[in-house]
Amino acid sequence: MNEQAINKDLKIVSFKGGVHPQKDGKILSKKASIQTAPLLERYQVIVSQNIGAPPKVVVSAGDEVKKGQLLAEAAGFVSVPLHSPTSGKVEGLVDIPGPMGVMTQAISILADGKDEWTELSVSIDWRNSDADTLKKRIMECGIVGMGGAAFPSHVKLSPPPDKKVDYMIINGAECEPYLTADHRVMLEEPEKVLEGAAILGRAAGVKNVVVAVEINKVDAINAMMEKAAQFNVGIVGMKVQYPQGAEKQLIYAVTRRKVPTGALPADVGCIVQNAGTAAAVAEAVNAGIPLIERVTTITGEPVVNPGNWRLRLGTPISEALKLCGGVKCEPGKLILGGPMMGFAQRSTGVSVMKNTSGILLLDKSDVTQYESSPCIRCGRCLEACPMNLQPSALSQLAEAGQYENALKYNVMDCIECGACAFACPAHRPLVQHIRRLKAEIRNRTKKEIKK
C-alpha cells in the first residue's frame, strides 16, 4: 500500500505545544487489518468498567447466559449496564488483577461454544427518532468512551439544559504512539464511524458534526471523506502532535474555543466522543448490539505479530498476547493503553475492558530508568505543556511540599499528558511530581470537607 496524498480540501488544525516522539511505533501495527479473535473457553468480565457507579450484578453462579445478555445493570445515572461476551454458564464472581494494580471483581463465564445471541432490541430508524430514544439505546447498550476514560456516553450527550451545545467532535486523533485501533476502524469501517457520528449528533441535537483525525492516517481520512457527505459529517485533519486527542486540546484545535479552568466541554458548546465509540453507537442503534467487544491494538517490539484484534470483553491479556504469536524476547513493561497515558500492569491476568485501546509490550531498552538531575531551566517543558502551565516550577513546588503555592500555579489544570516529562532533558519526573501535588491537594480538600 502506497502512502496516499492528503486531500487538498482538508483543513489542518492544531493546538499549541505538545511533543511528537520520533519513534511512534505505529508502523508495527498500522497495516494489520482487524482480525476477530477466536472464541475462548472462559471470559472474566470485570464488573467496574465505567467511570461513575459500578453496575449492579444481576446474574449469579450457575446461571445460563446468552451472548449479549445483561450481566449487570446500571446503578444510577452515571453508570452503564454490562453484557455477556458469549453464551455459556456463569461460574460466579472472582477476584482478578485489575488494571489499576489492585484486585477487582469480575464475572467469570464458561463459554459453551455455541456463541448464541440473546434476543436483541430492534433496530431504530435514527433519522426519524428523537434524542431521548437514541440516548436511552446508547445507555442500554452499555456504551462508554472507548478512548481510555470509559465515561458513559449518554451522560456526555445530556448536558445541563442551560448549556447550548453546537459542536459534536468525533475524536479520531489517536495521538498516543503505538496505538492504531481507531485508525483501522476508521479505515475499514468508515460508514460505521460516520453513521455513529451522525447518530451522536442527532442524539445531542447538534448540527455541526466533525471527525477530527491526525494527518498520519491519510488512508483513513480519504476513506471517510468519500462517504462523509451522505451522513452530513465534516472531516478535519490535525497536525501529528501529542496530545492532539486530549479533549481540551481537540476542542481548541477544531473550534478555537478554550475550555476554562474547572469547566466542561459543554460549557464551550462542545461534546467529544471517540471514533471507536461512534462505531459502537452505530451498531447499537442499527442492530441493538450491546458493547461486548472492541478493537484493540496488541503491539510493541517484543510482540511476534503485532496487530489489531476484535477482542471480547473479559479476554485475559495472556490469551490476547497468544493471538499475536507470543513474545520474541522478555519485555520490559506491559501497558494497557498507550505508552504516554496507559497503565503499567504487573500481571497478564488483567482482562480486556471497554476502554482497553491497546495492549502494549515495551522492550527493555525502552523502559530504561533514568537518573533525574536538577532543572537546567531550558524551558522545554513550558513549550511542551499543552495547558500552558509551568511544569518546572510545579515540580519544584512538589519537592518542597508547597501545595498552596502550587494551586496558584493552576496545578489542577494539568491533564497529566506527560509531554513535559517526555521533553525534559534532565529526565525530571515532572508529570509524576504534578500527579503527587494533585493527589495531595485532593486529599486535603477531602479532609477539609470532612471537618
Binding site: 504487573r346 509524576q432 511530581h433 500527579r435
Partner: protein, 281 residues
C-alpha cells in the same frame, strides 16, 4: 614616606571613630526596643526550627514564650534542664511536660511483607501510593520510600529493610513525620511506653497472613495477659492504649505468636539482624 603612612593611618582611624560614633548614635536613637529575655531564651532553645511547638521556628517560639503565649514545655526538643533554665529566665514555674516520641506502627519490612510488583517511579511514599498503592502487598503497611525520614529534622528515622524505624534516642517527638506518612502509620506516643503492636492493618487476619508474616491477627493473647484497659481492640487488630500502657514484661508474658507485640528495642534489633541477613523466625 613614614609621614604618608602615619597620615593615612590617622585619617582612617579618625574616619572610623566618627562613623562608629554615628552608627552608635543612630542605633540608640532609632533602635526598636526588644525584650532582652527573648534573646536569652532564644540562646537556650535548640535552634532546630523544627516547628514541633507549632510556631514558625525557634525565634517565633521565644517571642511567644516571653509574651506568655506559650510555655517552655511545648518545645518537644529541649531537655528537662534546658526547660528549667528557660523557666528561670522567664520567672515562671515549670509544668511537668510529658515527652513524646514517634513510632511507626508497622513491622512489614521487605522480608516479612510480600512485594507484589517492581516500582521504579519517583522515590516518595505519596507518589508510590498513586501507582497501584505501592509495591508492597499490604495496602496498609509502610511503603519504605523514606518520605518521613527525609522530613525528620533530627535524622531520627532510618529505613531498614524497606521499613521506617525510629531511633528513640534521636527522636524528640516534634511530630513533623506524622503528617508525611500517606498511610498514617506514625503515632506520637509517651516516651515511657516501650511496648507497641507493630501492625496497623484493619484487614481480616486471614487476608493479612497472606501478605505478611508479622501481622496482628487479633488473637488477644496480649489482651488476656495484660491488665484491663491496657489494650483496645479495634476491628481486626489490637492497639496499645497509650493512656494506660503496659510494661515491658508484657512481651514475654503474652508470647505474641506473630511477633508483632514488641518493645521498641526488640523491634529495632530484629530489623538490624534481618538486614545483616540473619532472619529471625
Amino acid at each position: 614616606m613614614t609621614s604618608t603612612i602615619i597620615l593615612s593611618v590617622l585619617a582612617l582611624s579618625i574616619l572610623g571613630i566618627i562613623l562608629g560614633l554615628a552608627i552608635g548614635l543612630i542605633s540608640k536613637l532609632f533602635g526598636v526596643a526588644t525584650d532582652p529575655k527573648v534573646d536569652l531564651v532564644l540562646e537556650l532553645l535548640p535552634g532546630a526550627n523544627c516547628g514541633g511547638c507549632g510556631k514558625a521556628g525557634c525565634a517565633d517560639f521565644a517571642r511567644a514564650l516571653v509574651s506568655g503565649e506559650a510555655s517552655p514545655g511545648q518545645c518537644p526538643v529541649s531537655s528537662q534542664e534546658v526547660m528549667a533554665q528557660i523557666a528561670q529566665v522567664l520567672g515562671m514555674a515549670l509544668e511537668a511536660p510529658d515527652k513524646k516520641i514517634a513510632v511507626v506502627l508497622c513491622g512489614g519490612d521487605i522480608q516479612q511483607t510480600k512485594v507484589k510488583t517492581l516500582y521504579n517511579g519517583v522515590n516518595d511514599c505519596i507518589s508510590a501510593m498513586l501507582v497501584a498503592g505501592g509495591p508492597k502487598s499490604c495496602a496498609y503497611g509502610c511503603l519504605g520510600m523514606a518520605s518521613c525520614a527525609r522530613a525528620c529534622p533530627f535524622n531520627a528515622i532510618e529505613i531498614i529493610n524497606g521499613l521506617a524505624v525510629v531511633h528513640n534516642e534521636l527522636c524528640v517527638g516534634c511530630g513533623v513525620c506524622v503528617k508525611t506518612c500517606p498511610r498514617n502509620l506514625i503515632k506520637l506516643v509517651p516516651a515511657e511506653a516501650k511496648v507497641h503492636i507493630y501492625c496497623s492493618s484493619p484487614e481480616k487476619a486471614a487476608l493479612k497472613m497472606k501478605v505478611c508474616n508479622v501481622p496482628c491477627i487479633a488473637c488477644r493473647k496480649c489482651v488476656k495477659s495484660g491488665e484491663e484497659g491496657q489494650f483496645t481492640i479495634n476491628g481486626f487488630r489490637v492497639e496499645v492504649n497509650y493512656d494506660n500502657y503496659p510494661g515491658e514484661d508484657i512481651v514475654s508474658k503474652a508470647g505474641c505468636p506473630k511477633n508483632c507485640l514488641l518493645t521498641a528495642a526488640q523491634h529495632f534489633e530484629i530489623e538490624r539482624n534481618e538486614e545483616a541477613g540473619e532472619v529471625v523466625a
